[in-house]
């Protein structure tokens, strides 16, 4: 009778032992890598839309204020999505025969919500979404001078809009635990109140004005570590706004 186990079996057995030890770790590692990857978070992934709207063109090149389209961003929890009307304010005059704008014109003509050219499904694909048990309020963040780019990334550079950041809870908490890292006053325009400063930033981008290191980071959608001096300045703002750091961390601030 031939040998049941050949010498190579020893190697296989050893490899199996190693694998048995390694596979669970690998599985966990792969799982968490996938869940953190943009495959899951959709960060940086441009979604197809009924009209290939470009923030880069409208914000950076034309200098249209955020609030022209996102009308309620400084008043309400939601920023608001522009109505067909808003698009047609300009596009009834310019690019009136662009095939890309056909869905907008159809919507305006028929009174039906904007629809995909193919499939006939209404609406835009939602890019920046927080889970339904999270209640984010745009207005209070804008009123505190938190730049749109802080969460939405380098929006003024996006040809097709994508989710600028991954929206992990830890990332929210980073600021809620350390608001001094994101609160700032534009030293070039100290007369502006915090809210105005948010929207003025895009005018600075457009004009090619000299940017502070923080603004540079915001322009590129990168994270920024403030200097000690900036932090001290932010502390003053915390006092001025009566921001209670402990309260900011309470669950019910976002979950209810």
């Amino acid at each position: 009778m031939a040998q049941l186990f050949k010498p190579v079996t020893n190697t296989i057995a050893r490899a199996s032992l190693v694998a048995a030890a390694a596979v669970p770790f690998l599985a966990i590692f792969t799982g968490s890598a996938i869940s953190r990857s943009s495959y899951n978070t959709k960060a940086g992934v441009s979604l197809e839309q009924p009209v290939p709207f470009s923030h880069q063109h409208h914000v950076q090149e034309l200098g249209i204020d955020c609030r022209f389209c996102h009308t309620s961003v400084e008043k309400s929890a939601t920023a608001g999505i522009p109505s067909t009307d808003t698009c047609m304010m300009c596009h009834s005059q310019i690019w009136t025969d662009s095939p890309l704008l056909e869905p907008v014109r159809t919507s305006f003509a028929t009174g039906r919500q904007i629809q995909w050219a193919t499939g006939g499904e209404p609406g835009w694909n939602k890019v920046a979404k927080v889970p339904e048990f999270v209640f984010f309020n745009h207005s209070i963040h804008v009123n505190r001078g938190i730049s749109c780019n802080e969460c939405h990334g380098a929006i003024q550079k996006m040809h097709l809009t994508n989710k600028g950041k991954a929206f992990f809870m830890k990332w929210c908490l980073d600021c809620h635990r350390n608001p001094e890292n994101v609160l700032y006053v534009d030293q070039a325009n100290p007369q502006l109140d915090s809210k105005q400063q948010v929207f003025n930033l895009y005018r600075k981008f457009q004009a090619g004005a000299k940017l502070s290191p923080r603004e540079q980071a915001l322009a590129n959608g990168l994270s920024y570590t403030p200097t000690a001096e900036e932090k001290a300045h932010a502390q003053e703002m915390i006092k001025k706004f009566n921001i209670k750091k402990a309260t900011l961390e309470d669950c019910s601030i976002c979950h209810r």
Partner: protein, 984 residues
């Protein structure tokens, strides 16, 4: 529930206890003790089992075989492991084509409008979120509401989105068009000799105008109004007393002494919201100067008025007329002999006279006209008219006359065209059953109503009618104040506004807005139209002259009935119009806390005499009619008397209400108070009552005392109360030592009347689901705020108290340290937060909560109405949800959040303006709905806030303070103001 014999436990069935035994058991305990149910007093094995067993009805679990068990466990494991891992679907954003001017996305708008119930208006302010009505609240400027609502107003929201509402015009059950209906109706009307229009009591002046014109244009036509529970007696009584009909409008804020003659003061139509407010305003205690009004109640069943009374006298409803006569005699210093103790009556009379016109006598709507006439005379004699009661001239006729005539005409085949609007005559007319065949023979019959009801099922045509939130209309309140009913949404289905229906049948089709506005412009109110829409009131009540009584009171009538049967509208589904409303079906009824059923309520003695106990089915007979229903023993009910609530036993109203309870309308022919009999049948019907759930095991929970006791011991704390050791705690209290505002609530038990408005307002605000009868029987109801009901026995009399209990937001919350995943933690503002997305459903927190206020989603209750094992989402119900509150799904714990969404909104607005939240800026849903303003919410760290002042009162106490949980909700003890000269 299976019966288990207790071993070595001396216990009896509750129905076998006598009053003496109960008193003895109660006296054996130390001090005043309150019990939640008779089963608790008796300590029955069933009750103990319910208390001690987590799954009282678990036979199904034990009887499961091995295979089944493994299958279930396997499936559970798979679900537990995988349910968290999935890619979320791509969501769509659908923007407007043309953005409406007033809407800021994410912000709500509020519109003034009004609702109508039993022909009277209640002014409302309705919140609209992105064009979708999501919450109904009271209108401060409306005299019936003064900013509060009743349970029905809150629940109208669910009716609006009810998936069972009529959706199409039907001809013989087949879908037809509205135009086809109009053509058929008009042709038939032109040929008809005696057309009849049957409506509910119409509160709309515009509709009255339209209907009168329609009737005038068709000779032989008649318009009949019908409400099974109406105020005919009050109208007829005023005719007897004053010679012409008057509307009775009470203003209890002007009364220091109130005598209720079998009147359920706080449950008699929309004006009761105002009556509750006025009553409570006379009982506000400030400092040690306790000045309170005094309420005497004579009644057979126990009502919310009875439990608020300073003196509740249990009498038969059929005796009340004679008792009123005694009162008249006593007021005129004559011998006051009669069914009731003359000495007591004399003291009441003396009290009424001593108040110098600041007193009133109130008669129950179901009592005969005679009693109302006597009440008019007494009110005149004690000088109440023009103060606590106004008699407003009216041209309304009693509804009974028209309805009786209609029934006779139908039976005689003399009707050849009949249109029914919002009434359900084949179900609610006296002897309706006999009319069915005759009705079917009428050549043209049509029903316009919210639901396809019993009458619609027998009609040739059915037209879905628009809800009041869907169409323009107007309505008058009891005092004559008129309001415009402003719609908030276009009709969800193919529903037709009632004004358009009548206009089209009259041959003058017009939009409802034009009809209603046209009517008011013609009345000269066109200029203030915009203001009227904003305020919710278009023409205020006019002062009236006090009428003088003519003649005296009639001679003594018949004696009390040997055994009386009382019929009353249901406290939660009214006359049946809300039968398909799951919120109202599941709302525990005041006093009995029964849900999803009506019962035959009787006293302990009567039950013993009949040999029945709770849930036994009995047959109730009045004349030739009989109905069958389950018994529910109500401590304090009059002997030889039963109370039945109407509105149940619907055969056609939608999936929620059909087949629930039993129909009592067959007994209606005998009147609301009739002589009858009750017979035991050998059957039982399970009842889902919240009564024995959430028991607190006889600890010192509700503090009640008389004014005298309060003067000596302002805290009303029992002498043997245990105290927690001060400063002894394992918790970290540092987190409250910051300069954040600290939220707290105070509930004044002295004001609470147990009306349940808070419970259902909370349900509407916080997306709380309906769970159904079986789940309630398992103790799984989801209400975040419940009304506990306790009773005690004092000198052979039952005394009732109620206490609203929601999460107490303990500073040292026992639920928090036991949560393995930190899903419930404290905020720095003192909220006990519940983080749904962390919760894994261990239910340790609920187990450790001494107040039993946590609620667990055992099944997928959301968007569902009955079958929770199937996931039959009802998309329409998603419209109902408040978008600012998470919708919870299976396996998640939940509880009162102090309306954290309202706190957050106010805080963010205040922060934007760089200021603190002002006192009174945050109003919780329960506080807003409360008709008596018993609930105060605010910042307890600010000594000047209203809540801090309430907590500083001497009668303020915390629930189960001995546990050292430091609740943020405090209660103020209840006071009674008994007449010291009446020996109870």
């Amino acid at each position: 529930m299976p019966s288990v014999k207790g071993k070595g436990m001396e216990s009896k069935n509750s129905a076998d206890l006598t009053l003496e035994e109960i008193s003895k058991k109660l006296e054996a305990g130390n001090g005043k003790q309150y019990y939640r149910s008779l089963d608790e007093v008796a300590g029955t094995p069933e009750f103990r089992k319910f208390l001690e067993d987590e799954f009282p009805n678990r036979s199904t679990l034990l009887s499961m075989d091995r295979r089944q068990f493994l299958k279930v466990m396997g499936a559970s494991l798979a679900l537990a492991g995988l349910s968290g891992c999935r890619f979320l679907p791509q969501e769509k954003i659908v923007p407007y084509v043309k953005a409406p001017e007033d809407i800021i996305p994410g912000k709500s708008l509020r519109y003034a409008t009004a609702m109508v119930r039993r022909g009277e208006a209640l002014g409302l302010v309705v919140e609209s979120k992105m064009g979708r009505p999501t919450k109904i609240e009271g209108n401060d400027l409306h005299p019936a509401s003064l900013g509060s609502t009743d349970v029905f107003a809150q629940a109208e929201l669910l009716t609006l989105y009810d998936p069972d509402r009529g959706r199409n015009v039907l001809n013989e059950g087949q879908i037809a068009t509205y135009d086809e209906f109009l053509k058929a109706a008009r042709e038939a009307l032109a040929a008809a000799k005696s057309p009849r229009i049957v409506t509910d009591r119409v509160a709309s002046p515009t509709l009255r105008n339209q209907l009168q014109a329609l009737v005038k244009a068709h000779p032989g036509a008649e318009w009949i109004e019908w409400e099974p529970f109406n105020d005919d007696s009050a109208l007829e009584g005023s005719v007897l007393a004053f010679g012409s009909p008057y509307e009775t409008v009470y203003d209890l804020s002007q009364a220091e002494a109130i005598v209720s003659l079998d009147c359920s003061l706080f449950d008699e139509g929309p004006w009761s919201v105002r009556m509750a407010r006025d009553f409570a305003s006379g009982r506000k205690i400030e400092g040690s100067e306790a000045k309170m009004n005094r309420l005497y109640v004579f009644e057979s069943g126990v009502t919310t008025a009875g439990l608020s009374a300073d003196h509740r006298f249990t009498v038969k409803s059929s005796e009340v007329v004679d008792i009123a006569r005694q009162l008249v005699m006593a007021l005129s210093d004559l011998e006051a002999d009669g069914p009731f103790d003359a000495a007591t009556i004399r003291e009441i009379a003396a009290d009424l006279i001593a108040r110098n016109g600041k007193a009133v006598v109130v008669a129950g709507a179901h009592q005969p006209a005679e009693l109302h006439a006597i009440a008019c005379h007494i009110n005149h004699a004690i000088g109440a008219i023009g103060r606590a009661v106004q008699y407003r001239p009216t041209d309304r006729k009693p509804l009974r006359t028209g309805a009786t005539k209609l029934a006779a005409e139908l039976a005689g085949g003399r009707v050849d065209w009949m249109l029914t609007i919002s009434a359900n005559p084949l179900s609610t007319l006296p002897q309706a059953d006999g009319l069915k065949e005759a009705y079917k023979k009428v050549p043209f019959t049509a029903v316009a109503a919210l639901y396809e009801d019993e009458t619609a099922a027998e009609s040739k045509w059915y037209v879905p009618l628009a809800h009041f939130l869907e169409a323009w209309s107007d309505a008058e309140a009891r005092d004559g104040t008129a309001s415009i009913i402003q719609p908030l949404i276009l009709p969800l289905h193919n529903a037709v506004p009632v004004h358009e229906l009548v206009a089209s049948i009259s041959g003058k089709p017009q939009p409802a807005y034009d009809i209603v506005k046209g009517f008011w412009v013609a009345k000269g109110a066109g200029e203030k139209w915009e203001k009227a829409l904003h305020d919710g009131v278009i023409s205020p009540a006019k002062p009236t002259e006090a009428p003088k009584p003519v003649g005296g009171i009639g001679p003594a009538g018949s004696a009390a009935f040997g055994f009386e049967v009382n019929l009353r509208p249901d406290p939660t589904i009214d006359d049946g119009r809300y039968a398909n409303n799951g919120w109202l079906q599941e709302l525990p009824k005041p006093i009995t806390t029964v849900t999803w059923d009506n019962t035959v309520q009787m006293s302990l003695n009567t039950a013993q005499r009949l040999g029945v106990k709770n849930e036994d089915v009995v047959e109730v007979t009045v004349g030739q009619s009989r109905v069958e229903g389950p018994v529910w023993i109500v401590p304090g009910h009059a002997d030889d008397s039963v109370t039945l609530h109407a509105g149940y036993g619907r055969t056609k109203c939608g999936r929620v209400g059909e087949g629930v309870g039993f129909n009592v309308y067959p007994l209606m022919a005998g009147g609301a108070i009739a002589e009858g009999s009750v017979k035991k049948l050998g059957k039982a019907h399970p009842i889902a009552a919240a009564q024995t759930h959430h028991s607190m095991e006889g600890r010192d929970i509700v503090r009640v005392g008389s004014i005298e006791e309060y003067k000596h011991n302002p805290s009303l704390e029992p002498h043997d109360a245990h105290h927690a050791k001060k400063g002894l705690t394992l918790y970290n209290d540092e987190q409250f030592k910051n300069d954040s505002q600290q939220w707290g609530m105070s509930i004044d038990l002295n004001a609470c009347i147990g009306c349940n408005a808070c419970t259902i307002a909370c349900q509407a605000e916080n997306n709380i689901p309906v769970v159904g009868k079986d789940q309630v029987r398992n103790g799984r109801e989801m209400h975040w705020i419940r009304i506990d009901h306790y009773f005690s026995v004092k000198n052979g009399r039952f005394e009732h108290v109620v206490q609203p209990v929601a999460c107490q937001h303990c500073e040292d919350a026992p639920c928090e340290p036991v949560c393995p995943v930190a899903a419930t933690v404290h905020s720095h503002e003192g909220l006990n937060q519940m983080v749904y997305n962390r919760c894994v459903g261990t239910r340790y927190c609920s187990n450790n909560c001494p107040y039993k206020v946590r609620r667990f989603n055992f099944l997928n209750y959301q968007y569902n109405q009955k079958n929770f094992d199937k996931k039959d989402d009802i998309p329409l119900l998603k419209l109902l949800n408040n978008p600012d509150v998470t919708v919870r799904s299976r396996g998640v714990m939940e509880k009162c959040t102090y309306c954290v969404q309202r706190i957050n909104e106010a805080r963010i607005e205040a922060k934007k303006q760089l200021r603190k939240v002002k006192d009174g800026e945050i109003v919780t849903a329960c506080q807003q709905a409360c008709p008596t303003q018993a609930i105060v919410f605010g910042d307890v760290s600010d000594p000047n806030s209203r809540v801090s002042k309430a907590r500083a009162e001497e009668r303020s106490y915390k629930l189960l303070e001995v546990l050292n949980t430091k609740p943020r909700t405090s209660y103020s003890a209840k006071l009674r103001n008994p007449n010291p000269r009446i020996k109870a």
